[in-house]
């Protein structure tokens, strides 16, 4: 299926930051059925990330603040090469920077490794000066997107944060700057405190919520973006089973990304893409695109 400029093997995509640190791990997720894979977000310089605890399972989801650890684009080209050599699913390079120039530097720096698409992370809620620090400003998002679109010859997706008053204004900024798709959502700003020691649990004190708790938030963002935009929307947030993926697709997603659910089942991609097929068959549809956004018509 062709979505937003790239040929997915199925509508389930590995989300950024999950098993995306090495080429080998990305290829493994492709073997496990991912229709495409997104790398860990890569930046201009090597970053160790925040101190641990950096990810903890909570009562109904996960909270994390990895702090965008990455070996920089120069260190990561090799991994993309390895991944591409081992799989035929498309590889989407997630990148971040503090401004348009950094984003473009990283994108250009990775071009030689031939990623099939770029995903701009303007949405990580817990990396000072990066991610959501830039992604809450429509003008900055426009500038960054336009700059990367200009510099590369593959589709550019832009991944948004839900931690804004109006996600559609950010989506429109990215669309008008030439984004081929909008990805929603990154994690929801959150925090957990250990009541016995009194310490916030994450090394970074706060972080981003993912997993089941955020699915209704993601569904609403995807629903609104589908209504506001012409480009495809990729749904992500809390998908753990075929039903969740279908809910996101009915809300308006052309494909879905899956992150935290890899914890419970590394074979999640096969299960979900099969489950979507079963649903399509049961209700007499042929393609995922037949049901994308269908809930908007039910009134």
């Amino acid at each position: 299926m062709k979505v937003a400029g790239i040929e997915l093997k199925n509508p389930t995509i590995l989300a950024s930051g999950i098993m995306g640190t090495t080429g080998a791990a990305l290829a493994r997720m492709s073997r496990n059925g991912a229709g495409a894979v997104v790398t860990k977000s890569i930046g201009p310089v090597p970053k160790k990330g925040h101190n641990n605890p950096s990810m903890v399972e909570l009562e109904c989801g996960y909270i994390n603040a990895m702090g965008l650890p990455n070996p920089s684009y120069s260190g990561f080209c090799e991994e993309i090469g390895i991944a591409k050599g081992k799989m035929d699913a498309p590889l989407i390079a997630s990148i971040f920077g503090g401004n348009a120039a950094e984003f473009t530097e990283v994108a250009k720096g990775l071009l030689s490794s031939k990623p099939d698409c770029f995903e701009l992370n303007v949405s990580c809620p817990h990396a000072e000066g990066y991610g959501a620090s830039v992604g809450t400003d429509p003008d900055l998002v426009h500038e960054i997107t336009a700059s990367v679109v200009d510099a590369v010859d593959v589709p550019v997706w832009v991944k948004l944060t839900p931690n804004v008053t109006d996600i559609t204004s950010i989506g429109r900024a990215a669309e008008s700057a030439g984004a081929s798709a909008i990805v929603a959502i990154n994690t929801v700003r959150g925090m957990a405190i250990d009541i016995h020691s009194g310490y916030p649990i994450l090394g970074n004190r706060f972080g981003g919520l993912s997993g089941p708790a955020v699915k209704p938030v993601a569904v609403k963002c995807v629903y609104d973006l589908y209504e506001a935009l012409d480009v495809p929307v990729i749904g992500v947030g809390g998908i753990t089973c075929p039903e969740d993926a279908i809910e996101m697709i009915l809300a308006g997603a052309s494909a879905v990304e899956i992150g935290s659910a890899v914890h419970d089942d590394t074979q999640i991609f096969v299960k979900i893409s099969k489950g979507i097929d079963t649903y399509l068959q049961k209700y007499g549809y042929s393609y995922t695109e037949d049901i994308t956004g269908l809930s908007h018509e039910m009134i």
Binding site: P46, P53, M66, G75, D194, S197, G203
Partner: protein, 258 residues
Amino acid sequence: MRPIHSKITEIVEESPNVRTFFFDTQFDEAIPGQFVMVWVHGTDEVPMTLSGKNSITVQKVGDATSRMFELGIGDHMGLRGPFGRGFTIPGNGENVLFIAGGVGAAPIAPLADIVKARGIEGRTILGSRCCDELLFRERFACGRVDITTDDGSEGRGGFVTDQLAETDTSDYDRIYVCGPEIMMYKVFEILKARNAHVKAEFSLHRYFKCGIGVCGACSMDPDGLCVCRDGPVFNGGELEGSEFGHYERDSSGRKCHF
């Protein structure tokens, strides 16, 4: 799970740089080789093998471990786990060989406890840099123990591999290995030459972030297996042709060669 607030109930000084911390939290279901993420409040969270149902045995090497050494009985750490895949518990009729270097005795000792409790014969090759640092020698009381020290201060002078080279491994159904990666890799090579690596299990270390198989920080080449989830214990067969013995990654994901 959130970290379990756990009180230190006892501290045993195993050697100048190694202490065992006992807690009021007991992981009864834990399998030898499984680990917990140990949260040192305000500092860091690091993986530690369970050296017993309610204990970890820590070598002081940096920030978090140094902070732990400042804690006393009644102080607390946060424990999440047990995580990962532990060792295969030997069957009753099986002959086993333990090969442990330094603080690598921590995951092996609980296995020796089981073997001893069952009355199985288990032989041990236990190594360290010097006699002060021989860990848990009294727990390997299930059979013959060969000691090696780098400086020759006790037992055979040299490495566990020297001892292993002279040991007939065909007698053993299972071989359990833990220690520094260089040591484990040499053991692996010796066993591989004898085609015995497939009956050996190695407990690996990599840099852990999430500890629960999501972030990918600890994935190994070329199969993308996670040390925190698919390991830390791997069969020798699984390690063939892998990065094991060659390189690991630091916290930014960069390769560091051994």
